[in-house]
């Protein structure tokens, strides 16, 4: 799809860095206050074509002689010409239970194939230059009128740009254990003429506040569920435990895949091996979260979605991998989503640039999250009007 085809979905508004405040208490409902978003970054650019495999498309097998997933190993999906990568068995179970889905061909026109720029576009929700400092969910947090100062956590080693908030309403927690035993000075004793000391004390109090939340989360029942014993699995468990043990944190971000250790989704090399590990970890982590939150009674109020830098090229490379491409696949999960496979089979032979042509603008999905799930003014936050993608049941 080119930019002209996209125009019917998007009427651009001037980008608003700090959108107008919106009433967080939606019309007569209290349950919506507890609605949460768990955003998972699949770091490196996920190849959706080997996750949801078009096994009746000869073009796929011809272009991937070494890394195509054999049809007889796929997890079949009723009535579809596509099957799931066998490493996604846990995810398939969730789909069958009506708790998970996939949105195909998600991207944007003239997609960037640079990791840095593509992540910037997905995270800020715009391809404008210069890109805003804030992320799309960071702006949502900035605009919230709820009294809670911290509305979201990024669990991982680096701040997520999608959560970058002008009003510091999100936090990065890299090592929950370092939050233990944080001391704060008795306010009565903190008379000081040193300005920087006062600043540090403020930070201490802020940390103390959310350290308490993490301490409370330790009493959660996450340990009873089969989260993977990995950084991602541990982050998912923290998310589950925080949701279970308190009600105010609304948005969570974590990352699967690392450029430093283990595998990333940037599968230029040995893609099959990387996917087996990553998809297995993803499915297991998501499945554990689903069971955990169902038990805790919060699954209906939880929406999980993934994003990645880009999709990958249709043809394999010479290293058992794939190169940077265009549109990709979004995984969604939750107690209120429209489960199943969304969108049409990618037209591989009709690819204009070697990658998958985008048919769904990712901003439509984000708009649905803001407008339909969080009851927030999506156009102001996204800086444009996009028709919400029907991802909810």
């Amino acid at each position: 799809m080119n930019r002209r085809n996209f125009l019917h979905t998007a009427a651009l508004l001037p980008f608003v860095a700090n959108p107008i405040a919106w009433a967080d208490l939606p019309k007569g409902s209290t349950s919506r206050r507890a609605r949460r978003v768990v955003l998972i970054r699949l770091a490196g650019g996920n190849d959706g074509l080997n996750a949801l495999v078009p096994y009746r498309d000869d073009f796929y097998y011809r272009n991937r002689p070494n890394i195509a997933i054999p049809a007889n190993t796929l997890l079949t999906l009723d009535g579809r010409d596509q099957g799931l990568n066998p490493a996604l068995a846990s995810f398939k179970e969730l789909m069958e239970e009506g708790w998970a889905g996939l949105i195909q061909n998600v991207g944007y026109p003239n997609a960037s194939r640079s990791h840095r720029r593509a992540t910037e576009i997905w995270s800020t929700g715009t391809d404008l230059r210069p890109s805003p400092e804030t992320g799309w969910l960071g702006r949502w947090a900035d605009a919230s009128t709820t009294p809670d100062q911290i509305l979201g956590f990024t669990l991982g080693q680096a701040p997520a740009r999608a959560f970058a908030s002008a009003a510091s309403r999100t936090e990065l927690v890299s090592s929950p254990d370092t939050l233990r035993n944080i001391q704060i000075t008795n306010p009565k004793k903190e008379q000081t003429t040193v300005a920087k000391l006062a600043t540090l004390r403020q930070i201490e109090r802020r940390i103390y506040e959310y350290a308490g939340l993490f301490e409370q989360a330790r009493s959660g029942s996450g340990h009873r569920f089969d989260y993977p014993d990995t950084e991602f699995g541990a982050a998912m468990r923290w998310i589950g435990d925080i949701i279970e043990t308190q009600a105010n944190t609304r948005i969570f971000h974590t990352t699967l895949g690392s450029f430093e250790n283990g595998f990333s989704f940037d599968t230029h090399l040995d893609q099959l091996q990387a996917h087996q590990s990553l998809y297995g970890e993803f499915g297991q982590g998501l499945s554990a979260l689903a069971k955990h939150l169902q038990k805790a009674g919060s699954w209906q109020d939880t929406l999980v979605l993934t994003y990645s830098d880009f999709g990958r090229l249709i043809a394999e490379n010479k290293s058992g991998g794939t190169e940077h491409g265009d549109a990709g696949l979004m995984f969604i999960a939750g107690g209120s989503i429209a489960a199943g496979v969304h969108g049409q089979l990618p037209d591989l032979a009709g690819s204009t640039n070697g990658g998958i042509n985008p048919l769904v603008d990712f901003r439509q999905v984000f708009t649905a999250v803001l407008d339909r799930w969080l009851d927030a003014p999506a156009p102001e936050i996204m800086g444009g009007v996009y028709s919400p993608y029907p991802l909810l049941a």
Binding site: S174, T178, S319, G320
Partner: protein, 492 residues
């Protein structure tokens, strides 16, 4: 605190040392006490003349052979494997270098040179992940250390041909047909005049000046003749010596900030380094690095004047800085959030730790946001003093410094520490060497005094907690943990 004539008040001496070095050690304190501010500053500068080089690691002694060369007919899979092995090797080299450099910072008898080296390293930025060979990273650190107290134009001129910088900024093998605009903008923004203080024409002209240099094997060295000329530069680089290729160089006139000439890379950079715009940029960077509260810009202006008068002489700039009344003002005192490196080096020096080998400082520095050899792409923009607490959760990692120095396990990452009760801690030898007094109160007070936190830390509160563990190493360890995990200790 008004600017003193002489350092007769111990607090004045300590303030000077906390800013120009990493800590006010006894030795340095006695070195500067009772001297005039200028004499004390000069004595620290003079001391820096005795600096030694970093120990040369084995990988830096030998000529570098590219482990990821691409030969003709080499399969992509083999090349990818070579790339992966090379990355692993460079990571190990960087890790070794980081430890060596930290040891040097901790034990150096020339702390001002080390501090200024850190300042310039921070300003230029650079990551071993981009640069690659540890030999180039080592040479870069040594280059910065060597020129850290010369003049800024000379330092920048040398930087222009630092192999690490050619690779970092991507102007190795740049040709006149495609001048390295991105590199030129980075160099202008980080090294020379600061972000946005240049025109598109300056970027274009500097990019043309940066053309012509290629990192390759020294003349006469044997180079394989079956190299594949295609592919990434990292797979074609035969050596780390910058060789000028006139056929790649844009040999026309270039105009930089209104000055015209046929500049090459070192000449162009040196030229800009003599201009008021560069003086202004370094005045801003230095006032920030040394934590000077300069609301009216008077200190900055003094630095700009001194820069232009002395042609960027770094000792003159330091003397100017310490002679400003803003350096000594009440609002500048304890106004500096120490960088993570400043924190750890100062703590080691105060506690008599002479080597950081074996301590997990790599993880700690990473958690604090200052991996020494993986500085942000935006260089000075991201590593200004205000960056250390963004996001604010970084403070929690900083507060773990005590545990790291005491060689106690710290659980980094999302997985909770499941080890439970660790039993009696096994402290490193230096803890047992700390003085033991008759009175616990005195031991605690002495240790707090040694660590030198900002005023406000309550010794009585610390005593309340240490009394539950009265034996000597436990008392010391507990005090160290508490002081290092205090807001007061974050400041200089």
């Amino acid at each position: 605190m008004a600017k003193p004539q002489k350092l007769t008040d111990p607090e004045h001496s300590k303030h000077l040392l906390r800013r120009l070095t990493f800590s006010a050690t006894n030795k340095l304190f006695h070195h500067v006490e009772n001297a005039s501010v200028l004499a004390a500053t000069r004595s620290l500068i003079d001391l820096s003349g005795t600096a030694t080089t970093l120990p040369t690691p084995a990988f830096a002694e030998q000529p570098w052979t590219n482990p990821a060369l691409r030969f003709k007919n080499m399969s992509a899979a083999v090349l990818a494997q070579k790339d992966q092995l090379a990355r692993q090797r460079y990571k190990e080299e960087a890790s070794q270098l980081e430890q060596e450099w930290l040891d040097q910072l901790v034990t150096s008898s020339t702390p001002l040179r080390e501090s200024m080296s850190l300042f310039f390293h921070t300003t230029f930025g650079g990551s071993y992940k981009t640069i690659g060979p540890g030999k180039a990273v080592y040479a870069h650190i040594e280059l910065v250390r060597r020129y850290a107290l010369s003049t800024i134009p000379k330092l920048l001129e040398a930087m222009a041909l630092s192999p690490a910088m050619l690779i970092q900024h991507g102007y190795d093998e740049s040709r006149r047909e495609l001048p390295p605009y991105y590199a030129a903008e980075k160099v202008l923004a980080q090294w020379l005049v600061g972000p946005g203080n240049y025109s598109n024409s300056d970027v274009e002209n500097l990019a043309r000046s940066l053309t012509g240099w290629v990192l390759e094997a020294p003349p006469g060295a044997t180079v394989p003749d079956n190299l594949d000329s295609k592919g990434a530069r990292r797979n074609r680089r035969t050596g780390l010596m910058p060789i000028f290729h006139s056929e790649y160089f844009d040999n026309g006139e270039k105009t930089l900030f209104g000055h015209t000439g046929n500049f090459n890379a070192p000449q162009a950079i040196k030229k800009i380094a003599t201009l008021p715009q560069c003086a202004s940029w370094y005045a801003d960077l230095l006032t920030d690095y040394f934590g000077i509260h300069d609301p009216n810009g008077a200190a900055s202006q003094s630095l700009i004047d001194a820069y232009l008068r002395s042609q960027g002489d770094i000792p003159t700039l330091i003397e100017t800085l310490t002679s400003c009344k803003e350096f000594w003002s009440e609002s500048s005192r304890w106004n500096l959030i120490k960088s993570p490196v400043h924190l750890v080096v100062g703590a080691c020096q105060a506690l008599g730790i002479t080597s950081v080998q074996g301590l997990d400082l790599e993880s700690w520095l990473q958690a604090c946001g200052q991996s020494l050899l993986d500085s942000p792409n935006r260089g000075a923009q991201s590593w200004t003093s205000s960056a250390w607490l963004k996001p604010s959760g970084r403070l929690t990692a900083r507060y773990k410094l005590g545990d790291i120095l005491l060689a106690q396990p710290v659980s980094w990452g999302m997985r909770a520490n499941k080890t439970g009760d660790l039993g009696r801690p096994n402290f490193p030898a230096w803890v047992h060497r700390l003085p033991v007094g008759e009175e616990t109160h005195q031991v605690v007070a002495d240790l707090v005094h040694t660590l030198d936190p900002a005023p406000g830390l309550n010794v009585e509160n610390i005593l309340d907690t240490v009394n539950q563990r009265p034996t000597a190493p436990d008392v010391s360890a507990n005090v160290i943990r508490q002081v290092l995990a205090s807001a007061e200790y974050q400041l200089a």
